[in-house]
């Protein structure tokens, strides 16, 4: 049920993001989804890619600090209120969302959103109990 995400530490200076995407591109790694969190002096790039091990290795070889985190990919009805319903469910269950970002590709008729939770297992349980579709990692990497 879990999806592996890699994260990369970036200094907030020109050309760093381009460098990461260039390295991944040259290594034949396809980026499935990404989000960038930034502060005044650093940024954290989070990526879902088609080949985690390869992405991690080539980034490390190029001197980047790379981390691995488990996240959840959830199908959200692509209509007004679709996301609100899911967030409301999580809120009622007392589950805190660290961050989230959207997938470019759809899963059938539905949008796909990546969630990072503090308590991943509990979040998955609550979502499934409430009839939300949690997508398998292997499916996500190839969407």
């Amino acid at each position: 049920m879990k999806v592996e995400q890699i994260s990369v530490f970036l200094e907030n200076k020109a050309g760093r993001l381009a460098e990461v995407t260039r390295i991944l591109g040259e290594g034949g790694v396809n980026i499935r989804a990404l989000s960038l969190a930034d502060t005044s002096d650093f940024g954290i790039l989070r990526l879902i890619v088609n080949d985690n091990e390869k992405a991690k290795k080539i980034l490390k070889d190029n001197g980047f600090t790379v981390g691995k985190t488990n996240v959840v990919a959830i199908e959200v009805e692509d209509k007004p209120g679709g996301l609100a319903k899911i967030l409301d469910t999580l809120y009622r269950a007392g589950i805190n969302v660290e961050y989230m970002y959207a997938f470019v590709q759809q899963s059938g008729e539905n949008a796909v959103i990546i969630f990072r939770f503090d308590n991943l297992d509990e979040a998955i349980r609550v979502l499934q109990e409430n009839g939300v579709t949690v997508i398998n990692g292997s499916k996500v990497y190839t969407l």
């Binding site: 994260s7 530490f9 970036l10 200094e11 954290i44 980047f64 600090t65 985190t69 660290e98 990072r116």
Partner: protein, 433 residues
């Protein structure tokens, strides 16, 4: 003007006779009261009786900051604790500070030396002294305070910080002598200007500035902006505190060392050999009147040179040149001694593997600013901004707790810190002093 005409203008021969007598007493006393010195002298095959002339001082072994650390906190005190009336401390090379003690007579001696210092810097009984050196474990604030009272001047114990309020008090109380670090003097000038207060309308005659390195150019800038005469003062807590040496306002050309209380030497920092007058090397001090915390040939790590030509102020005391550098990697940040190893120990305590770090020192708007660059390795990396910001805050807080100074902590990518021959360059000092 000279506070103690007799002792500050002694003929060299008379001064040296006093020095020898006091040196013999001190050596005799530390040998019998401080186990460290007995062991240290014995190991070097020298006995107190071997000191027959001032030249024999060179036979005694050096004392280093490491020796002070090994005997933390009170191991080098030469009197029982019930004779100690004051304790001061400065930062050491790692977590523990360097601790010094004073008897009632030591405080009296120090106060007199500070009265001499103030008068050499142009202060008299009728002056009002604005003392913006920090009060506390640091010797600056209280050293000047007691000196001012001994001189009979009025002292405003304002200590450091709250600069706007300081300017208001300068305007309202009309102090005539300013005592603070040179960089703080420039900050005061700037804040006063922002507040529309012209230093020309204030009553300052002179200022005594020290506790950090500064230059002749900085003196000119201070004199111009603050409209006063600026003199340099030297001291360190291990020897006494401020009041070891001071420039006279008449010549402003080298700092007179109070040789009736301290014997100064210049040595080659590599060989330990004494160097002749005029040559640059490491300053070494022996205290010859201190009771609670005497030091024998203490290596200051400060680089200077000694001159014995007579001075136009009339003092016969040897003069030391303005300190031009260090023989170790100690930094002075806003008057606080900082060793890179201290920052390293803060980082080590937080993580099993010490991340690579680098210290960048700048002078921003006349104040020293220390930036700690920390390379983010996998151990400390997190995918959430919150965790990384908490890490920055924690490093900043731990450094503040240990050193008492505020820093900017900046997380950087791995391998961004320049390495030369595999070793990281730990400090980049961009200050133009």
């Amino acid at each position: 003007m000279i506070y103690n005409e007799e002792f500050e203008t002694l003929p060299r021969e008379a001064l040296e006779a006093i020095q020898l007598r006091r040196l013999k007493n001190t050596v005799e006393r530390v040998y019998h009261t401080v186990p460290f010195y007995k062991k240290h002298f014995d190991e070097h095959g020298v006995k107190p009786d071997d000191i027959k002339s001032l030249e024999d001082l060179h036979r005694l072994p050096f004392t280093t900051k490491q020796d002070l650390r090994d005997n933390y906190p009170f191991g080098l005190f030469a009197v029982p604790m019930d004779s100690v009336v004051r304790i001061h401390a400065s930062s050491g090379t790692t977590g523990k500070p360097t601790v010094v003690g004073y008897t009632a007579r030591d405080i009296k001696t120090w106060s007199e030396l500070m009265a001499r210092t103030l008068m050499a810097g142009g202060a008299t009984k009728g002056d009002i002294i604005h003392n913006a050196y920090g009060y506390g474990l640091f010797t600056g604030g209280l050293g000047f305070h007691y000196g001012a009272e001994t001189l009979g001047a009025s002292v405003i114990p304002i200590s450091g910080g709250n600069t706007k309020r300081q300017v208001m008090i300068m305007k309202d109380f009309g102090p005539t002598i300013l005592t603070c670090t040179p960089s703080y003097a420039l900050l005061l000038a700037e804040v006063a200007e922002e507040m529309g207060v012209d230093f020309k309308s204030l009553k300052f005659k002179s200022g005594i500035f020290g506790a950090e390195p500064w230059s002749e150019q900085m003196r000119q800038e201070i004199e111009r902006k603050l409209n006063l005469d600026a003199v340099d003062i030297y001291g360190l807590s291990e020897v006494m505190g401020p009041g070891v040496a001071v420039e006279c306002i008449e010549a402003k050309n080298g700092l007179h060392i109070f040789e009736d209380h301290f014997i100064a030497e210049i040595i080659d920092p590599d060989t330990g050999e004494p160097l002749p007058y005029g040559e640059k090397g490491e300053l070494v001090f022996t205290t010859i009147t201190k009771e609670a915390f005497p030091v024998i040939r203490y290596r200051t790590r400060d680089i200077s040179a000694l001159h014995r030509e007579p001075c136009k102020c009339g003092r016969t005391l040897v003069r030391m040149e303005r300190v031009s550098g260090r023989t170790d990697d100690m930094l002075i940040i806003r008057g606080v001694n900082v060793f890179p190893s201290q920052i390293e120990s803060v980082l080590m305590e937080m993580e099993e593997v010490a991340p690579h770090y680098q210290l960048i020192v700048d002078r921003v708007e006349h104040m020293d600013q220390l930036t700690v660059m920390v390379e983010v390795n996998e151990k400390i990396f997190s995918d959430t901004v919150r965790n990384l910001q908490e890490l920055e805050t924690k490093i900043r807080r731990n450094i503040k707790d240990m050193l008492g100074i505020s820093t900017i902590v900046k997380l950087v990518e791995p391998k961004t810190i320049e390495r030369s021959q595999g070793k990281a360059r730990r400090v980049i000092d961009n200050r133009k002093i």
